[in-house]
Subunit: 621 residues, 2 copies
């Protein structure tokens, strides 16, 4: 186990290895934008999947309108978030902004929503990435789910080893992807200018264009905006001056999303891409480039940027839950760094849940998308509302203008939450609508527990000064359960002697014969430690032991402590642990439920097995 | 968990509930014969499955010859085993007979072979039983595997509760099944006399009748003989005189198998049953009775007797492994009786492996049968060889005749092992041929380990008398790891005081700030216990602690003991255990590897959470 872990994860690192690489605009843009930019690979496609079955060819026109609305929303969010960056130079995630300005409940809600968002980012991005590959190489299609799971494991192990999000290596694929989509846009438009007329697919209109239909398409497309908040979370990672750099990167990010999302919508419109067997991007690339080098280049960069988008969740989620864990809203273990300084438990949790979702939804992007955007937009809304309240309260320079901008942002994103939750409700959003309140409740319960524990353990300096620990406050009794009189029990009795002058040996027999044999052997010992033998037909030690402690026979007084000594073999080979019954563990688990009983584990080391079985002589052994 | 267990398994029973019911011939026959007799349901069918695809209609003639050969083998085994019964009135399982006469290795081999046999009995009998049902009710066919697993769970729970094999209730279905098959034989023959001529199916001959083909058919049919050894295992369960009763029952059992197996072969021959969609017995029953009451009666009794055959493995396997566990060849836990006095671990192990086999082989009897007969015939061979050697050594009355009979039995069953292993090798027998040596090796390793442990723990009476445990042999040092100065650490320090005058508080800090804060609070305490603070960047306690113990700074002398006190929260609600990091368990596991370190678990009881979160005021908590 240990060796395998070393091989996969690498040797442990000391805390001093923990220092962050800082970046400027050139590398900040690609590193922080992969999540947002990669949405291009599925957002347009998902809009068409809603529209085409209903209104056929008319879908392509509506695609442009819906895309335009989403880009409008993007512009609003960009200016709203620039204000967040300015005011939270230490990183302004929705959790912090909401908690700071709206209180605990809003913070916890944002934390829950963001967690869902990160998990869905992994599930959706990996599923979409693998869909690109299986669209280009159809024979791989039946292996979609296993390939996705392999990718999740790959990211998990990589992040447990401690991949740095800030490593420049991660910036290159984003530029490669931007180049791929822009090349495709240019080449695609040139082809059309050159007189190529793509054949219209025979699609029928079955329904009128209703508002509900457009809203459903809009909800699907909103996934294009996931990841926009990444820049505001990462302000402290920028070189000086961080705020200025971050604001520039956010602007450039929006511009890029605008170009790529708009561009692919236009191309899908021109080349009549019909979602189905093949991913839309792959269809467009095939129509524009044929099966040339550029086709494979587009497929490969799309796949890679989607995997990288999933990877951003691997840096976001563990950090978020670590912050929440430190504040006591989720289990403390999530705030502990593993051997390689990564938040291992968060990484494993994220991989586990994302993996389960991929298996349940068979890596179907359309099915997963129903669960996706709700979480993101809830966190947008809370973050913007927080900023709005902040302006109202602080009333600094230009506060009215600023409050209006964030207020509008909050309003529009809140509207989007309602639209998405309503139109996608039956398609999966209900899960999120159900899960988020449950998560909030659980987080508050967890906090409650930690606060209760801390209160019960707390001692003020004044209390410390008056405490008396130098005298014995109580008597310590020792009980040594013995199964037989052997070296192990002698060792335990000797140890018992050193810690107390009040020692009792205790045995539970199931028949009088074995009890008699034990008594005989024990009486051979030169000791004044009394041996108590109890009879129990139920083959268990704990109950007779507890009964004995409470009986008048035992001179235990309330307030005293009782130490029970249990021997434990030290296992040299893994399979030896299968050979010893684990009654020690069961007994320990039962005894520590009693606050007056201390359990002592006495280690016993065995030499390696040196016995060689000889056929006839050892028959009787 | 506990409540669920009570519901399924029932309340615990005391040892006094352990007494055996004895039976005579009338109930001994049906109770001990279900395994052997139930083979009728698949043995003939499996012979036809080998023959029909090769030689078409000629298969039916060859079926009679092959069945005759198997019945010949049955007669030989019957007389051989009557001698075993006579000489092992306390039960003569192959394990005991082989170990007594041929040594440990042969005994262990027989034990391994028998274990495989029992596991395969469950897998094959349940699969065949469910096949009968799904043959009669074809719409159930797709649910074959789940139904099989449900049956395994049913048997598992039933046996964990402690079903008695000897309960008379279990005898009735055997008689009902015998009656069903005999009625079918009589009715089938009458129909033919009455002039009904079943139509011959159009089957073609593709191959000549070769010896290899006949041997393959014979191998499949040998499964009819599994279970014949049951009577010799159970001699002590008979009323006085047990040997006479057992011998009579074995003779009657053989006679019954002869009648039923021969009878169904004849019927299959007359009615041209073709294995395929429907089990052969179900086809014959349909041809003879139509879909009348008698048809359903045959199907139901066949199903029930097959389930009961599986149930006999549930009494045989746990008892066998318990015997081997007592002698140290398999993990000791297998010899412990559960709450209801059944050998729970053996029952669960049997269910687990049989369940896995059913899932892997999709409950396909033909696929499973390849693994079945090898194990049984290895144990036949070892048991008969053991008897042969016994006669040679003891040379009692009529020893030459007796030796000849058992020798012939050994020779013929050994030949059968070779035939089965060779002809079924590629159809699954290779698994068994591979697994049995691995099992033997593992069993010897396990024995080795237990012997090595026992030797190291052993103390003779003389040694006991010279031992001195009344004086302190060494000094006991105590170390109390403290994370912070709170009620838990105070409680641990106080306890430490009562067990030693040499106590050290120990802390590992990851930064100087937290170290400073701890030192300040500690210095407020009125105590002479020194506090040692170590800095470690690896966020672990164990390594710095061990390093400190070995350092010159600590006044530990070789031979002394060190007690480390670890606090442990007593968990009131299951989910609380998720909220506390289990570093205590990891630390304990690392420390007990050192024979000079004793780990003390100090229980801490928390009151229930009484904290209610208020939105604004508690923001800073």
């Amino acid at each position: 186990m240990r060796k395998l872990r070393r091989l996969l994860i690498g040797r442990p690192l000391g805390n001093e290895a923990l220092n962050e690489e800082k970046f400027g605009v050139l590398w900040g843009l690609p590193i922080l934008s992969s999540d947002a930019i990669s949405s291009v690979a599925y957002a347009g496609q998902e809009i068409l999947i809603v529209l085409i079955p209903a209104i056929g060819l008319l879908a392509y026109t509506q695609l442009i309108y819906v895309s335009a609305a989403i880009i409008g929303l993007l512009v609003l969010l960009t200016f709203s978030y620039r204000q967040t960056i300015e005011n939270y130079p230490n990183g302004g995630g929705a959790y912090i902004v909401a908690k700071d300005n709206l209180g605990v409940l809003a913070g916890v809600t944002a934390g829950a929503a963001l967690s869902v968002d990160y998990i869905m980012t992994v599930a959706v991005s990996i599923s979409s990435g693998v869909e690109q590959i299986t669209s280009a190489f159809l024979p791989l299609r039946p292996y979609t789910v296993p390939i996705c799971i392999a990718m999740v494991l790959f990211l998990m192990i990589g992040n447990l080893r401690g991949i740095r999000e800030s490593s420049r290596m991660f910036g290159i694929p984003t530029y490669a992807f931007i180049f791929a989509i822009l090349s495709m846009l240019v080449a695609g438009l040139i082809r059309i200018r050159g007189g190529v007329a793509p054949s219209k697919p025979s699609l029928q209109t079955f329904e009128p264009i209703t508002l509900l239909l457009i809203l459903r398409a809009f909800s699907s497309g909103c996934t294009a905006l996931t990841g926009v908040e990444a820049v505001s979370n990462a302000v402290p990672n920028f070189k000086d001056p961080p705020v200025k750099h971050a604001k520039t990167v956010l602007l450039l990010l929006s511009l890029t999303v605008f170009m790529l999302f708009g561009g692919t919508s236009v191309l899908a419109n021109i080349y009549y891409a019909v979602p189905g067997d093949k991913a839309v991007i792959v269809q467009i690339a095939e129509a524009v480039f044929g099966r040339s080098f550029m086709f494979y280049y587009v497929v490969a960069t799309t796949f890679i940027i989607l995997v990288m988008a999933a990877n951003t969740a691997y840096s976001g989620f563990p950090l978020l839950v670590a912050v929440m864990a430190k504040e006591g809203y989720v289990p403390r273990q999530l705030s502990m760094r593993g051997d390689r300084l990564s938040f291992s438990n968060g990484i494993i949790l994220l991989s586990g849940i994302a993996g389960i979702l991929i298996v349940i939804f068979r890596a179907d992007v359309t099915a997963l998308i129903g669960l996706y955007a709700v979480g993101v937009f809830i966190s947008f809304t809370l973050s913007q509302s927080g900023m709005f309240i902040k302006w109202l309260r602080e009333r600094g320079k230009h506060w009215v203008y600023k409050a209006l901008l964030n207020g509008l942002g909050a309003l529009v994103t809140a509207l989007a939450v309602i639209i998405i939750a309503a139109t996608k409700f039956t398609e999966g959003a209900w899960v999120v609508v159900l899960v988020i309140p449950v998560m909030i409740y659980a987080m508050l319960k967890v906090k409650n527990h930690y606060v209760a524990v801390a209160k019960q353990l707390k001692l003020s300096i004044e209390e410390l000064e008056t405490l008396d620990i130098s005298n014995d406050h109580y008597r310590n009794h020792v009980i040594v359960p013995v199964e037989s009189v052997n070296k192990a029990s002698i060792r335990a009795l000797r140890y018992a002697r050193t810690i107390s002058d009040n020692v009792t040996a205790f045995n539970v027999s199931i028949d009088s014969e074995s009890a008699q044999k034990l008594k005989e052997r024990y009486s051979a010992l030169n000791t004044d430690i009394p041996l108590i033998v109890k009879y129990s037909p139920f083959r268990k030690v704990v109950d007779p032991l507890l009964k004995f402690i409470e009986s008048a026979e035992y001179d235990y007084k309330k307030g005293d402590m009782i130490t029970v000594i249990l021997p434990q073999f030290t296992i040299k080979k893994w399979w030896h642990s299968l050979l010893h019954n684990h009654s020690r563990i069961f007994i320990e688990r039962e005894l520590v439920k009693h606050k007056h009983i201390v359990v002592c584990i006495m280690p016993l080391q065995l030499k390696n097995d040196d016995f060689i079985l000889k056929s006839r002589k050892d028959k009787q052994l």
